[in-house]
Every structure is written in structure tokens, then in C-alpha cells.
């Protein structure tokens, strides 16, 4: 019960919860009318955006003590995987969309 009450009394947590709720509505609103042609690129673009998890990986890596090899190894791997998600995601999306713009010009 105390934990639940603290969700509302602790300003930091309360702020986070507000962000979550508003973001949910925003996400629904932003893409509710998208033509089916764009489903694939949109999914791929969204895929790149959740690569933002890499920020957590960078923090983990940057805080790992020099002698904690487990944290260093896992953190290193996490940053690589996160980068793959971000870079790969944006590049693949751009490649898909490049073809759309090409045909627009013709």
C-alpha cells in the first residue's frame, strides 16, 4: 500500500507516470490514420525509435566499475546491440522510404 501511495506523493514518480499516460494517448493519436502502404516503413521507423533503450546501455557501461568484468562485458554487449537496433533501424527505414520518394518524382 505504501508503495502505491508513493506513486502519487513522490513528485519524480508522479511526473514519470504522467509522461507514460500522455505518451500512450499521443502514440495512438499520431498514427491512427496511416495508409496501409506505409505500415511497413512505419513499423520499421518505430523499431528504430525504441532503440532509445541504448541510453540505458550507455549508462550501465559508463557506470561499470573497472574491476567488474561481468558488468563491463554485459554493458559492452548491450551498447553494441542497442546501436545495431538504432543504426540498422533508421538505415533500413530510410532505404524503404527512398524508394517511395523516387517514384514520387517520376
Amino acid at each position: 500500500m505504501d508503495t502505491i501511495i508513493s506513486l502519487f506523493t513522490d513528485p519524480a514518480t508522479y511526473r514519470l507516470i504522467t509522461i507514460v499516460i500522455l505518451s500512450i494517448f499521443l502514440g495512438i493519436e499520431v498514427i491512427s490514420r496511416v495508409p496501409s502502404v506505409l505500415h511497413t516503413p512505419l513499423m520499421s521507423g518505430a523499431n528504430a525509435i525504441h532503440g532509445v533503450v541504448i541510453i540505458g546501455a550507455i549508462i550501465v557501461m559508463g557506470q561499470a566499475p573497472d574491476n567488474d568484468y561481468l558488468a563491463l562485458t554485459l554493458g559492452f554487449l548491450a551498447v553494441i546491440l542497442g546501436t545495431l537496433n538504432v543504426v540498422g533501424g533508421f538505415v533500413v527505414t530510410d532505404r524503404m522510404l527512398e524508394m517511395f520518394s523516387k517514384k514520387k518524382k517520376k
Binding site: 496511416v34 521507423g45 518505430a46 528504430a48 541510453i55 546491440l81
Partner: protein
């Protein structure tokens, strides 16, 4: 000052993600939207590296961070640039899995930190790992299924097993977070193992044709996993980015299901994978199909007034989009009107065919959406189906027992002639027979799409 700069960078990041998603949902602005989101991501990443502080401590291990960033960038760019258009869906699934694995590793490291954690922190770590792991395992299976390494498998009682695993996961999370057995750190790794198993079993029975929907769903899972990271580090950009993808991804998943006229539940239970060839289309009308020669096909099309080409995954696999465009040009020179009928889910992903044909410079106006194409069918002389199957299966309209019953299809039978190019009589991806092939109007032109089209072009030029 620096912390204000960091927060400002995060705010910019969040705004670019919202704008990016918004712009990605309109054809004219989509590409710019992607680039804007990418720019915001770069700002957020570098701001974190150089400005992040915790308890007055800056980040260190810069060499490692930059080495990892460099490796990821080089490998990611190469993979994304080299991948064939046909393999795009697999690639997206794989990148999604990487994000899930990243969330999983973050939780693992955080769990192993020596300091005592509050209940809330523990909950966020455990859930982040759970969802990240499910997403990772599921994405790898989806990737394997799309490139044919993993076949559809139904496990007897799969639904019940999945439910038990799910219940087990919840129990473990409660035990770990509640700290009931502090002497048993193994429980935490139990979550890891069960979540991986759940991810595998969750995707395994779902049919290959439904993979795009699954990838979209797993995509929103990874978004939620990223958002748990936002809670963990009190980080607004991870939170907005993650939740935005989580909710937008869920809506997108539902939209995709609607495009196929099926419910999400129907997809997840895996009715496609569950019923193998024969179960949907009973062998009642099998047997007699007509074959047509290349020469006859060429003549039929050359003297037609209107030809509609219906591309499918077979075209993508054969990489025949350029030859297809050539065929269209040769026919146009002969005064034939040529258009393309694009089913929203033709290929392996919605929009797959549009991207593929655009690559071959097929003009935008020639690509008709399904409704438009169907209106034109009755005045069309020849329909040429290139490696499409389920999207033209009349069973979707006529046979209530068929697993694809209710899905809108391209009504090719309204045209005078239907030529189907296929490699063999094997059923399509959904694993069900297609009665269309045995109908009187239909003629079969067997062979690889690229070779068949090349020969057709040669024949046409000689006419």
C-alpha cells in the same frame, strides 16, 4: 548548467520522436520524419555520454562505449544496406530482437549491482528483463520463420502450456520483487529462462503469413521494455520513446489485422499455422488445371486491351521486379493498358509490393489499391498473377470453413482470362489449396517468375 543541457537534449529527443512518428504516417513527409527522429536519437545519445551524472559522478569507460558504438554502427549499416528488399521483414525483426536483448542485458547488470534495491526498482528491473527477453526470443523465431529456417510447428496443448508458463512468470516476478526468498538469487534467472521459453512458444505456432503482425506486436513489446529503462534511470526520453512505440505499435498491429480482416486474437491463436494444407481447402475440386505455353500467354496479352498484373511474394523471391517493369513497357508499346493490382498484404509485409515495384521504377499511378483494382476487373482482358496466391484465393469469399475466410481478395475471376505464374502447384504461405487454379478461366504458366517474364518479353518482341 550541464544537467539543464542534458534535460534539454532529452526534451528535443522526445519531440523529434513524436514528430518523426507523425511524419512517418504520411507518404510525403515519411522520409524526412525518419531522419528527424534519427537526429534526435543522436543528440540524446551524445548528451548522455558527455553530460550524464549520477550522484555527482560522470560516466567513464569512454573507450569501451565508443568501441561498442563503432562496432554497432558499422555492422548495423552494412547489414541494413546489404539486405535484399525481399529480406527486409526479417531484418526489421532481427533489429527489434537486438533492442529486446539490450533491455535484457541492462536489467541483468542492474540486478547484479551490490547496492540494496527498493521494491519499485526491483519491479522495474524484473519487468524490463521479462519483456525484453520475450521480445528477443520471439523476434529471433520470427526471423527464422520468415527466412524459412524454422518451420511452423504446433505443439499439442500449446495454449495451455503457454498459459502455465505465463502464470509461472508472474509468480516468479512477485517472489523476486517481494523479496520473499532473498537467499535464492536463482529465482531471478528463472524469470530469464521462462521468458525466453515463453517468447519461443508464443511465436512458434503462429503461421508465417501472420509474421508481420507478430513483428509489429513484438516491436511494441520492446518499446515497453525500453520504457522500463526510463523508469529505472528516471529518464524522460527513454520513457517517451518507449511508450510511444509501445502504444503506436499496438495500434499499428491492430491496423494490420484489420487490413487482413482478422482479429488479433485469431492471429495469436495461430489458426493459420494450426491447419496445414488440406484442412482449409478440402480436396474436392482438385485435379484438372490447364497449362498455358509461353507463346500463347504472350499472344493473349499482346492482343488484350487491358492487363492487370498481380504481384506476390513469388515475384519478390525471384527478384523479377525489373523484368516485370520491362514486360509492362513492351506491352504498352503494343497499345495495351497495363496496371498493377496491389493487395494490402501481398508479399510478407503490408506495402512490400509497393516498395519492390518502386525499386524497379514502376510509376506510382500504375499501382492500384485493392478496391480500385477490383473495380477495373470486369473490363480487364487478362490478369497475370505473379507468385501471388492467398490474396487471390476465392475461398476467402466462398468457403466459410477456410482459415482465410473473410479476408478481402483481388477478384480476378471477373476478368476474361487469368494466367497464373507459379513455380509449382504447391499451396501458398497460408498452407491452403487455391481453387482458383482449377477454375475454367485460369491457365497455369509454370516456372520461376524472372525466367518466365524474360521469355515472355522475348516472345512479345518477336510478335
Amino acid at each position: 548548467m550541464e544537467s539543464a543541457l542534458l534535460q534539454l537534449s532529452y526534451l528535443i529527443g522526445s519531440v523529434t520522436f513524436i514528430m518523426g512518428l507523425k511524419m512517418l504516417s504520411h507518404p510525403d513527409t515519411a522520409r524526412k520524419g525518419n531522419l528527424i527522429a534519427a537526429a534526435g536519437m543522436i543528440i540524446a545519445i551524445f548528451a548522455t555520454i558527455f553530460l550524464y551524472e549520477h550522484g555527482g559522478q560522470r560516466l567513464h569507460n569512454y573507450i569501451w562505449i565508443f568501441a561498442a558504438l563503432a562496432i554497432g554502427t558499422v555492422v548495423g549499416t552494412m547489414a541494413a544496406k546489404k539486405v535484399q528488399m525481399t529480406a527486409m521483414p526479417e531484418m526489421v525483426s532481427l533489429f527489434n530482437g537486438m533492442g529486446g536483448a539490450c533491455a535484457m542485458l541492462i536489467s541483468l547488470v542492474e540486478y547484479n549491482k551490490p547496492e540494496v534495491k527498493e521494491t519499485g526498482t526491483m519491479l522495474v528491473i524484473a519487468l524490463g528483463m521479462l519483456i525484453g527477453t520475450v521480445s528477443f526470443a520471439g523476434s529471433v523465431i520470427a526471423w527464422g520463420k520468415l527466412n524459412g529456417r524454422i518451420k511452423d510447428k504446433t505443439i499439442p496443448g500449446g495454449q495451455a502450456i503457454n498459459f502455465i508458463i505465463f502464470a509461472g512468470l508472474i509468480t516468479l516476478v512477485v517472489l523476486v520483487v517481494g523479496g520473499f526468498f532473498p537467499a535464492m538469487p536463482g529465482l531471478f534467472y528463472g524469470i530469464l529462462a521462462l521468458a525466453a521459453l515463453y517468447g519461443v512458444l508464443f511465436v512458434m505456432p503462429i503461421g508465417g503469413a501472420d509474421m508481420p503482425v507478430v513483428i509489429s506486436l513484438l516491436n511494441s513489446f520492446t518499446g515497453v521494455a525500453a520504457a522500463f529503462g526510463g523508469f529505472l534511470y528516471n529518464n524522460p526520453v527513454m520513457l517517451t520513446g518507449g511508450i510511444l512505440v509501445g502504444s503506436a505499435g499496438t495500434i499499428l498491429t491492430i491496423l494490420m489485422c484489420k487490413a487482413m480482416n482478422r482479429s488479433l486474437k485469431n492471429v495469436l491463436i495461430g489458426s493459420f499455422g494450426g491447419q496445414k494444407a488440406g484442412a482449409g481447402g478440402p480436396a474436392k475440386e482438385q485435379g484438372n488445371f490447364k497449362e498455358i505455353s509461353l507463346n500463347d500467354s504472350a499472344v493473349l496479352m499482346a492482343y488484350a486491351q487491358k492487363v492487370v498484373i498481380i504481384p506476390g511474394y513469388g515475384l519478390a523471391v525471384a527478384q523479377a521486379q525489373h523484368v516485370c517493369h520491362e514486360l509492362e513497357k513492351v506491352l504498352e508499346e503494343k497499345g495495351v493498358q497495363v496496371t498493377y493490382g496491389i493487395h494490402p498484404v501481398a508479399g510478407r509485409m503490408p506495402g512490400h509490393m509497393n516498395v519492390l515495384l518502386a525499386e524497379a521504377d514502376v510509376p506510382y499511378e500504375k499501382l492500384l489499391e485493392m478496391e480500385e483494382a477490383n473495380e477495373q476487373m470486369s473490363t480487364t482482358n487478362v490478369v497475370l498473377i505473379l507468385g501471388a496466391n492467398d490474396v487471390v484465393n476465392p475461398a476467402a469469399k466462398e468457403d466459410p470453413s477456410s482459415p482465410i475466410y473473410g479476408m478481402p481478395i483481388l477478384e480476378v475471376e471477373k476478368a476474361d482470362h487469368v494466367i497464373v505464374n507459379k513455380r509449382s502447384m504447391k499451396p501458398g504461405y497460408a498452407g491452403i489449396e487455391n481453387e482458383l487454379f482449377f477454375r475454367p478461366k485460369t491457365s497455369m504458366l509454370f516456372g520461376d517468375a524472372k525466367k518466365a517474364l524474360q521469355s515472355l518479353v522475348t516472345e512479345l518482341k518477336q510478335l
